[in-house]
């Protein structure tokens, strides 16, 4: 069974630029999560999708972050414009039912200069 796929693995941009990350969850997993992990901290949930609907985006900075999962499968997370404090690893995870463990992708390390 293929795991959660993410791309790119690394991204370096200058502040005020835009960036987009892509995630393809495990086949059949209805729930998809985007997390932000700043160095030295645990992952923080940004947004949770159930199929193509948003379940929770309470911690997503909506003035600059956006995410979509149009067909209920893969998802994109966008930052526009980026700030220095957005430097972090962005993790995507999925699971097939509430209450089950989440499976994480390899993450994208974003550096904003």
């Amino acid at each position: 069974e293929a795991g959660v796929a993410q791309s790119p693995r690394y991204k370096i941009i200058e502040k005020r630029q835009s960036v987009a990350f892509w995630c393809n969850p495990i086949s059949g997993h209805a729930t998809l999560y985007w997390y932000q992990q700043i160095l030295g901290q645990g992952p923080k949930l940004l947004i949770q999708f159930q199929n193509n609907g948003v379940v929770d985006d309470s911690q997503l900075p909506k003035d600059r972050f956006s995410a979509e999962r149009l067909k209920g499968v893969d998802s994109t997370l966008k930052i526009q414009p980026a700030k220095l404090e957005d430097s972090a690893v962005y993790l995507c995870a999925s699971n097939n039912n509430w209450g089950n463990e989440q499976f994480f992708g390899p993450g994208t390390r974003l550096t904003v200069l």
Partner: protein, 110 residues
């Protein structure tokens, strides 16, 4: 406020030692507690503890849930250099939103 606290923040031991990592939580309606190991980027799942499954064991790793004390411990016996990683504890809140602790960075010295 729902929260998850882990201790210690970091731990350095020699190969072969036994370590105990701690996780405490405050949540309104407890359902489960999860332990993850994070070596490079992606956290990998270790255990899930629930009210009906308060103790789990896999090889040299074991975990116990203490619902009375609102805490869990992760034990690793006969540690190896490959156990060096960040160990994350997480508890689902609300709509299964996982809240993670800051993690414990474990370093095993050969």
């Amino acid at each position: 406020e729902d929260k998850v606290v882990q201790s210690p923040l970091s731990l350095v031991v020699h190969e072969g030692d036994t370590v105990t990592l701690n996780c405490s939580y405050e949540v309104t309606n407890f359902r489960s507690l999860l332990w993850y190991k994070q070596e490079k980027k992606a956290p990998t799942f270790l255990f899930m503890l629930t009210s009906s499954g308060i103790e789990k064991k896999s090889g040299r790793l074991s975990s116990i849930l203490d619902k009375k004390e609102l805490s869990s411990i992760l034990n690793i016996t006969a540690t190896q250099t490959g156990d060096s990683a960040i160990y994350l504890c997480a508890v689902p809140f609300g709509n299964e939103k996982l809240t993670f602790g800051t993690g414990t960075r474990l370093t095993i010295i050969p």
